[in-house]
């Protein structure tokens, strides 16, 4: 008996890192899961590694493209007949910089990736969930959704924005059996952080990747990065029946970094 028996979940950016951790936790609890990512090859590799047979499927799509994000919902419904849990998890930065050096291209990318993707996916999944009067929308936000570190202004701005979107949407659908929540992880050494961290460290004036990790860890009470598993456990709780009365919440998984 899993906590998510019979449920169908879709996860943007689900082939690796936090999204992958959510996918594995959801599968363990009995859900069927659609994972998304840009690369067909990585998607197939992910499916092979998760080894979940017909209970997992991959949908290739770019989270910065509206048609791709909306297509995930259609794919999940077509494949598994419904969508109960939408995890809008993909996000990050590419070539960040302080505001005075920020390029329009990078800014637009971060807005599309971190904010518009969440809006597109949330709108489409709510259109499916509202008539059925049941559903869970989980948004992977960040401690930067409440704080603001120098050198990552686009990330901080877009993560703040999705928190506002979550609060408003939660109130819109609160009586329909649908919850909308944000999970706010502290730094996790995901693949994306390992890839973009060295450049971010320079943009933030920290020099090296190691200094970046230390700067984020040093803000926390636990003095270490968080883990994918810690986020996945919260996602299971919020997605399960036990989470039915938690909505519009900014759920911290940050080792004591945020004061509120």
């Amino acid at each position: 008996m899993g906590k998510l028996d019979g449920k169908v979940a879709a996860i943007t950016g689900g082939t690796r890192s936090i999204g992958r951790g959510m996918a594995e936790a959801f599968l363990r609890e009995g859900a069927k899961v659609v994972v998304n990512g840009r690369g067909e090859e990585k998607g197939q590799q992910c499916l092979a590694e998760m080894d979940a047979g017909d209970n997992a499927a991959f949908y290739a799509g770019d989270a910065t493209q509206q048609a791709d994000v909306e297509g995930i919902v259609d794919f999940a419904v077509e494949r598994y007949g419904r969508l109960d849990i939408m995890c809008l998890n993909s996000g990050g930065v590419q070539q960040t910089a302080p505001v005075f050096q920020m390029s329009d291209e990078e800014w637009k990318l971060e807005v599309d990736w971190n904010l518009n993707h969440v809006f597109w996916g949330m709108r489409k999944s709510l259109q499916h969930m509202i008539p059925r009067e049941t559903g869970r929308v989980l948004v992977t936000s960040s401690v930067e959704g409440k704080l603001g570190k120098p050198g990552i202004p686009g990330y901080a701005a877009t993560k703040h924005a999705v928190n506002g979107l979550v609060k408003a949407a939660a109130h819109e659908v609160g009586t329909l059996g649908i919850t909308v929540n944000a999970i706010l992880p502290g730094l996790i050494e995901t693949d994306i952080v390992r890839e973009t961290g060295p450049d971010s460290a320079i943009a933030m004036g920290l020099g090296t990747y190691e200094n970046l990790i230390e700067a984020f860890s040093g803000d926390s009470a636990i003095k270490r990065p968080n883990t994918v598993e810690e986020v996945a456990a919260v996602a299971v709780l919020l997605a399960s029946g036990a989470g039915r009365n938690i909505t519009g919440a900014m759920f911290p998984v940050d080792g004591g970094t945020m004061p509120y």
Partner: protein, 259 residues
């Protein structure tokens, strides 16, 4: 295989309401649990209803007395050999009034019931948890630990104070494998709510029914929360998966609090 196999938990005010639901959830996940309350009779009844055999134990005590708080933590260690989880859960407030008419006694009693009891049990538990370099402390705060309501200042103040205590303590023990968190539930119709709610409503110029309706209306779900909502979050915070969550004020309020 439970998520709390081999763990020992201590819960203040655990015979009914949120504490009781948490005790039952902890038992289900394999923990041994000490519950507390003033009345030995209610304690015996709770033990009989929970049917947890040797895995659940009742220690009578008044959380408004420091000696009783400290004896509860020590009694947990005496009974089961250690304390891994403290749920400082008891709380409530009587004799509500607007600040202009508030008595010293009402403010003092609320601070003792909610805040001092949390401090006394937290301090005692940390003195066991720090040497063992592991532990979980969960404090039952409230949506009123983040918000504020007219005429309920004694409760609002005490719950805000608990949230401050949680943030400081979390920073102190963060590298020792000990987490300290607050859960902030919305209104739940527990025994304490049924006992104290009518007085609170009167001080706000409304009926008890209107008070409950007001709490529901503030939320996104337009209904009250339930004890099980809090119990399930407590299991997560107490489990291994909760190791990376500390100093947090977790909203379990159906969308009431904006932060």
């Amino acid at each position: 295989m439970g998520e709390l196999d081999g763990r020992v938990a201590c819960i203040t005010g655990g015979t009914r309401g949120i504490g009781r639901a948490t005790a039952e959830a902890f038992l289900r996940e394999g923990a041994q649990v000490v519950i507390n309350g003033r009345s030995a009779e209610k304690g015996e009844q709770a033990l009989a209803e929970m049917n947890g055999g040797d895995n659940v134990h009742f220690i009578a005590g008044d959380v408004m007395q420091r000696e009783d708080c400290e004896a509860l933590v020590q009694g947990t260690v005496d009974r089961y050999g250690k304390i891994d989880i403290l749920f400082a859960n008891a709380g409530g407030a009587s004799n509500h009034a607007p600040v202009a008419q508030l008595t010293d006694e009402a403010m003092q009693d609320s601070l003792v019931w909610n805040f001092w009891h949390t401090f006394w049990t937290m301090r005692a538990a940390l003195n066991h948890m720090i040497p063992q370099e592991s532990g979980r402390i969960i404090c039952n705060s409230s949506v009123e630990g983040k918000m504020g309501k007219p005429a309920l200042s004694i409760y609002v103040v005490a719950k805000h104070a608990i949230n401050g205590l949680v943030k400081s303590a979390a920073q102190e023990v963060g590298t020792l494998g000990i987490t300290v968190n607050a859960v902030c539930p919305g209104a739940i119709e527990t025994d304490v709510m049924m006992a104290e709610g009518p007085g609170a409503a009167e001080s706000m110029g409304m009926t008890y029914e209107e008070l409950l309706a007001m709490f529901s209306e503030e939320s996104a779900i337009k209904r009250l929360n339930e004890v099980e909502d809090v119990a399930e979050v407590n299991v997560l915070l107490a489990s291994a998966a909760g190791a990376g969550i500390t100093g947090s004020l977790i909203s379990i309020d159906g969308g009431t609090s904006p932060y």
